[in-house]
């Protein structure tokens, strides 16, 4: 488009490599969610994987945090335009959680306490691309940032990294989750700027 704003650009943000198109750098950690922040006691926490054939596998908090964990440093990109670089997390890789699950599903739906959902292709959860994180910056994950545990899928827009996760359904066909049904992109690659339906 050819609309040039006279006098704009004098206060531009620092230019940094690693920013997808249309994003700007923030050093804060903004909070975005659709409703109140749920507080989930650890003795009521569980995470369940349900396969396309109805098989289920669950972990309680003690079992989950006893799994092999990984420390990861990644950039995160929110569809509302902010990006935060070099964030540090500890969590359990989805490779670990899915290792003994028998499935041929190509798609998944992530579920959260409170009813939030988001859809992610299976291949985007595997091969070291996704974690369920329970520490941020060395501290227990705060409830407003998704604690006790949230999904961390840094190569997609951050709404895919669902807060307060409690389950994963494996599906043969893709279905929209919460924001996807409200007009956001089904996949959400920040480098392709897939913010909304049709992008």
């Amino acid at each position: 488009m050819g609309i040039i704003s006279r006098g704009f650009g004098g206060r531009r943000r620092e230019s940094v490599p690693g920013l997808p198109p249309g994003q700007y750098l923030t050093h804060d950690f903004p909070v975005l969610s659709a409703g109140p922040t749920p507080r989930i006691p650890l003795d009521r926490w569980s995470f369940t994987i349900a396969t396309e054939t109805g098989e289920k596998k669950s972990w309680n908090w003690a079992e989950f945090t006893a799994l092999e964990s990984a420390d990861v440093t990644v950039d995160i990109h929110c569809v509302t335009k902010w990006s935060k670089l070099g964030t540090t997390w500890r969590g359990v890789s989805l490779d670990t959680l899915l290792a003994d699950v028998e499935t041929a599903a190509d798609y998944t739906m992530v579920h959260s306490f409170g009813g939030y959902t988001t859809n992610v292709p299976m291949e985007d959860l595997l091969d070291g691309k996704a974690w369920i994180a329970y520490k941020f910056d060395g501290e227990d994950l705060e409830p407003e940032h998704g604690g006790p545990a949230r999904m961390l899928i840094p190569h997609l827009y951050f709404w895919k990294s669902a807060k307060w996760v409690n389950g994963l359904s494996l599906m043969n066909d893709d279905e929209p989750g919460f924001w996807e049904a409200a007009g956001y992109h089904m996949y959400g690659d920040p480098w392709l700027e897939q913010r909304y339906q049709g992008d």
Binding site: M1, I3, I4, S5, R6, G7, F8, G9, R11, R12, R13, G22, Y24, T26, D28, P30, V31, L32, S33, A34, G35, P36, T37, P38, T80, K81, W82, G114, G115, E144, F178, W179, A181, A182, G183, R195, Y196, Q197, G198, D199
Partner: protein
């Protein structure tokens, strides 16, 4: 009757500034003419893109302040922009953009934090600062539709001078039956914060199962939404929109 966000690609459109007014010393309403605007629901937002002469561009999201009616003669879209002094986009929109200038805009975006005139429940609106903007669109849409749903707005703002739409709100309280507005001033002695007593006194009882909309800075939204839950409101009826980090 407004339409929902249309399926298909949201294209960038040229928007021309055709009117403006200052709501407070730091918040300016931009009246934009956007040819072929598809319409919007109250609570939705738009993305704005500015491009510098050397090609550098920046995008930000802004809530829509105006209501839309397909049959109305006024087909403009209004945004109210709060100037953030260390920002790069908002000071341009509040202080530099002149009548006749164009910016790029796409939307409407967001299908969750919306109020539809067909909703029959009482409505509780909790606004912190410029979080009032999408809630004002709901009040305006109700007024345009001559809605009968009981509406209450609790509006937390630093001082009376920082309140957007103050005159219009007092006019609507007089003319729109069933609309109440209560202000909480956080920088006027005695300093107040939105608290249990305020929401209990000026909101709706949880028994009425109102639709609640909370918009403002994160600290405000967290506090207000927690109070609503503690007062027994169903978390599924509490819709929140938070901002912070946008400038």
């Amino acid at each position: 009757m407004a339409r929902a966000a249309l399926p298909g690609r949201l294209t960038w459109r040229a928007a021309t500034l055709v009117g403006e007014r200052w709501e407070t010393p730091s918040a300016r309403t931009l009246v934009l003419d956007v040819p072929d605007w598809p319409g919007h629901l109250p609570g939705q937002h738009v993305d704005v893109r500015l491009t510098a002469p050397d090609g550098y561009s920046a995008q930000r999201s802004y809530s829509i302040a105006s209501a839309w009616a397909d049959n109305a003669t006024d087909k403009t879209v209004e945004l109210t922009v709060q100037r953030l002094d260390d920002g790069e986009v908002s000071p341009y929109l509040t202080d530099t953009l002149e009548i006749g200038d164009q910016i790029e805009l796409r939307g409407p975006v967001g299908g969750w934090f919306v109020w539809r005139p067909a909703q029959e429940k009482p409505v509780l609106l909790l606004a912190g600062g410029s979080g009032v903007v999408p809630l004002m669109a709901m009040i305006r849409a109700r007024g345009a539709a001559k809605g009968k749903q009981p509406f209450r707005l609790i509006y937390s703002v630093r001082t009376p001078e920082d309140a957007c739409y103050a005159q219009e709100l007092s006019r609507r309280v007089r003319d729109d039956p069933g609309l109440d507005v209560h202000f909480v001033h956080t920088r006027v002695t005695p300093r107040k914060r939105i608290d249990v007593a305020t929401i209990n006194s000026y909101g709706w009882p949880a028994d009425f199962t109102p639709d609640c909309y909370v918009c403002g800075p994160t600290t405000f939204v967290e506090a207000a939404a927690d109070i609503l839950v503690a007062l027994g409101h169903d978390p599924k009826r509490i819709r929140t929109e938070r901002f912070g980090g946008t400038s």
